[in-house]
Symmetry: C2
Subunit: 221 residues, 2 copies
């Protein structure tokens, strides 16, 4: 089966890149409230992308991320200033990748390699550029091309168009259980990078493989 | 504008009926963990309905609710037995309505009255029946007729078909901010029953009115 994999496609936030520094920055700006802020912010960021997808009311992930931050700060009765918002949003553009990322990508150089994210290019491109990983990828794919968020089938279709492969020849990696459910539902091969040891989602589809970090996927070579 | 309202349509869980007793039952069954269980359960119940809507992978709200409970108990390392699951699910069929519900409904008897819920009839019908409110409603409308969860436009369309009214003549009530966003996005008049004093959602649309409980909507008569 492994010979059939022609493309390895990676989610970005939490999968290749550690979002921890966003929490750290929030902690600095809001006097130790970083944990709380980043938890609610992430939850609302996902919820708003899901709800806009369902309502047919698409805005870029950058807008959704700003909206989610605004809700979060209001819900915690914390001040939201344009300056602080910029500092927090900018953190997303300079995240560190997980330590194994580069080695794993280099070991897969005989496959097509791409990132595929709900993030819009105004967030993704600066991040990939500063990481030094850009030359390793054949494509930086954003759902913004289709204005359809993951986990909609229409979003995953972008990967096929962009890489010129069939869905069963794609191995897709994400740290988000719901993204893996959507990708398997669409017809990708799937590897859930379950860094947090979370329970499997109950959405009627299971990941093909589950690993603690990206190194696990090397058995698909 | 008030003369234009021909139908008053109510969400069910948290809007007409108090879901507190579910928490109480979880507290009994799981030794004081009811707060935690009901919080995660509710969050996953919503998330799974949203994700299935996006993935095009519909199952009834009863199934989604059971799946969400299963995830919740696994995430908390608590035992999930068929007996306990039945006891918890059954609580949804015998919730108490909020104290003002009946009086408000009776005051609106010159309008068409309906409930409209993500709940499937196997959950909704026993609940409305035991409440004694059934004779006050012209229709019990479940998204299950269209197999499209709220807040999709396709789901709200069911209300128009069922009641024979135009969207601008519908006043829609929900305690869920996202449901109100979806309903306004669709074209209903909207009253957010914000019992918990939550912040307004950041989804690009605002409720027409916000009230602490159902009595506020009487000004739309």
């Amino acid at each position: 089966m492994n010979n059939e994999i022609k493309a390895c496609v990676f989610d970005v936030y939490g999968t290749l890149f550690d979002v921890h520094s966003v929490k750290k920055k929030a902690d600095e700006l809001y006097d130790g409230r970083g944990e709380e802020i980043s938890r609610i912010w992430r939850q609302k960021q996902l919820e708003y992308s899901f709800l806009r997808q369902i309502m047919g009311n698409y805005e870029t992930f950058l807008t959704v991320t700003r909206n989610a931050l605004s809700y979060t700060l209001r819900s915690l009765h914390l001040e939201n200033s344009p300056e602080k918002e910029e500092l927090l949003i900018n953190e997303y553009k300079k995240l560190e990748c997980y330590p194994e990322t580069e080695e794993v990508l280099r070991s897969l150089s005989d496959k097509k390699l791409a990132v595929f994210s709900n993030g819009s290019h105004d967030m993704l491109d600066p991040l990939i550029e500063q990481s030094g990983l850009a030359p390793l990828f054949d494509a930086i794919i954003s759902v913004d091309h289709a204005k359809q968020f993951k986990p909609s089938p229409a979003s995953y279709t972008l990967v096929l168009k962009e890489l010129g492969v069939e869905r069963e020849n794609v191995l897709f990696m994400s740290s988000n259980g719901w993204d893996i459910s959507g990708a398997r539902n669409f017809g990708f091969q799937t590897a859930w990078i379950n860094r947090g040891g979370m329970p499997t989602e109950e959405l009627g589809v299971k990941p093909h493989s589950i690993y603690e970090d990206l190194k696990g996927i090397l058995e698909w070579r």
